[in-house]
């Protein structure tokens, strides 16, 4: 478990003693992470463990309560508006639902970042967009409207959109959630290919063990408000920590309890409910 992240210029993303939360409620604390260029890093954890919160911190949407979140060496939580915008242009984000713009077709969706941030001539835009669509296998779908493509396809279009500016850091929010096995395999392969080809840093927020272990260089496991484990997929597979074992093996009961904990509110409701019986 890394104790302190050295200030290496090579790091695309680094979290140093970070605590994250909303208002008084702290979701995560003492988080230390480092992601290098060309690495595929998986951030895993159960539902509600705070993975999406980490994503928001990395994009600068949520400032850290404590510690520093550094993107390409700059603290994004403390940066001013223009700096944040400049950093975001070097990042790509793939949202869980794709988040495609429903009033544009597939081509226009992928072209969007190019149109907003560059002054490329139209033929150049077309060439790049079709190239990225080709990389995700959807070149011939460029003319379709968003309503006409399936969920898996829209995820891939969103991926093409996220990489069209060839970012140095790509964040994937649950890229495998709700996909059929074929689509999952395709997506995993795409993620690895992009990391190798573009030499970009890739961070996967996911709870899918099998697919992510197949492509990740480094895995961080969060749970119970903190970083439970960090290391290569092999290290985690060999770990004896009970939480890690429950998670990796998918055991129903363990450190993460199966039964929802009893509360006075529940007992009061139950008494009222049973009092109603004739």
């Amino acid at each position: 478990m890394p104790d302190h992240i050295p200030d290496s210029p090579d790091l695309a993303l680094s979290l140093d003693g970070v605590a994250l939360g909303y208002g008084d409620f702290t979701v995560l604390q003492d988080i230390n992470m480092a992601v290098q260029a060309g690495q595929v890093v998986a951030v895993m954890g159960g539902s509600g463990s705070g993975k999406t919160t980490l994503l928001r911190a990395a994009t600068g949407q949520l400032p850290a309560l404590r510690g520093q979140v550094r993107v390409f060496g700059t603290d994004i939580g403390q940066a001013n508006g223009d700096t944040v915008q400049a950093l975001r242009k070097r990042m790509g984000v793939l949202f869980q639902q794709g988040a495609l713009f429903t009033d544009l077709n597939v081509f226009e969706n992928v072209a969007f970042p190019l149109r907003e941030h560059t002054r490329l001539p139209e033929p150049e835009v077309t060439a790049r967009v079709l190239d990225k669509l080709d990389a995700v296998g959807l070149r011939a779908a460029a003319h379709l409207r968003v309503a006409e493509i399936s969920g898996g396809m829209s995820r891939r279009v969103a991926l093409a959109r996220a990489v069209v500016l060839e970012p140095e850091l790509i964040l994937y929010d649950e890229p495998f959630a709700g996909l059929d096995p074929i689509s999952m395999g395709i997506t995993a392969r795409l993620i690895r290919d992009l990391a190798d080809r573009l030499h970009c840093a890739s961070v996967l927020i996911t709870h899918d063990v099998q697919e992510s272990f197949a492509i990740a260089d480094q895995v961080y496991l969060v749970g119970q408000g903190r970083l439970v484990a960090a290391g290569t997929p092999q290290t985690l597979s060999d770990s004896q920590d009970p939480y890690v074992r429950q998670f990796l093996r998918g055991e129903p009961d363990g450190p993460v309890a199966f039964q929802y904990p009893d509360t006075p509110a529940f007992r009061a409701w139950l008494a009222q409910q049973e009092g109603r019986k004739p």
């Binding site: 975001r88 242009k89 949202f95 869980q96 941030h117």
Partner: protein, 259 residues
């Protein structure tokens, strides 16, 4: 005793903060309005969605309002032997009041709700968040073109409503009932002043355009990203927008047409 008073106090405070937030929202949109000049295509697309798609209902409503004005106006004026003033009655009613106000109410219902729903759903589908992380300001890219689209579309729609209404009144009054055509138009022309009546009507419709569009955008922006949230937001757009139009109409009428 302090319970209801406290509740009232906090409700008032919430309303005042709402007004403050709304004003800052307007300021934020105006500050980003440069894009309306640098990328006019975005604005013209919105004028199309907001204005062109409302034309049919505006024209049909204007026609029927004109018919009714012609009919009702005739019945009343006939009692005093003043049927020849029908043209003047129809024109003044439309240009000063009914044109701007009814158009604004219809606009709130048709265009306002579709704006609110669109933005609320974009918010629910994380499209606005996606834009943000792509370093594109969603307020500038999505809201500002819609604001200016509405501001441009409203006066056009109100003028079309008034014109169609006057023609409708002419159809009923002159063609069907038989009021003298010459008197219809000449009394109208001598009684309707370009600056006092027509220009003030245009000014009213501009104010209403800003108000209704702003309320629609605000409600969509603030909507909770769930189906219920969007439904409530569209309802609020119609209710708040309509009440604002009626209230402002009273104010503007007193200012413009009072002595």
């Amino acid at each position: 005793m302090s319970g209801p008073v406290q509740a009232l106090g906090s409700w008032v405070r919430a309303q005042v903060s709402g007004v403050g937030f709304f004003t800052r929202f307007l300021g934020a949109l105006l500050a980003r309005s440069g894009i309306a000049v640098s990328r006019p295509r975005l604005v013209s697309q919105q004028v199309h969605f907001i204005g062109n798609y409302s034309l049919l209902i505006i024209i049909v409503s204007g026609m029927f309002v004109g018919f009714v004005l012609g009919l009702q106006g005739y019945y009343t004026l006939n009692r005093y032997g003043s049927e020849e003033a029908l043209g003047l009655l129809v024109a003044l009613s439309l240009v000063r009041e009914l044109g701007p106000v009814v158009t604004a109410l219809l606009f709130a219902g048709r265009a306002g709700t579709s704006l609110t729903a669109e933005i609320g759903l974009m918010k629910a589908g994380e499209q606005l968040a996606a834009m943000e992380v792509m370093a594109v300001d969603p307020m500038r890219r999505v809201l500002v073109p819609r604001l200016w689209g509405g501001i441009i579309a409203m006066p056009v729609l109100a003028a079309v409503f008034s014109m169609v209404g006057i023609l409708g009144g002419w159809v009923v009054g002159v063609l069907l009932i038989g009021v003298d055509a010459g008197a219809f138009w000449s009394q109208m022309q001598s009684g309707v002043d370009v600056w006092d009546d027509v220009a003030n009507g245009v000014l009213k419709s501009l104010v209403f355009g800003v108000t209704v569009t702003l309320v629609a955008l605000y409600e969509g922006w603030q909507a909770r990203p769930t189906p219920e949230g969007v439904a409530r937001a569209t309802t609020r757009t119609v209710v708040v927008g309509s009440l604002a139009v009626l209230g402002l109409d009273f104010l503007l009428t007193a200012l413009m047409f009072g002595n």
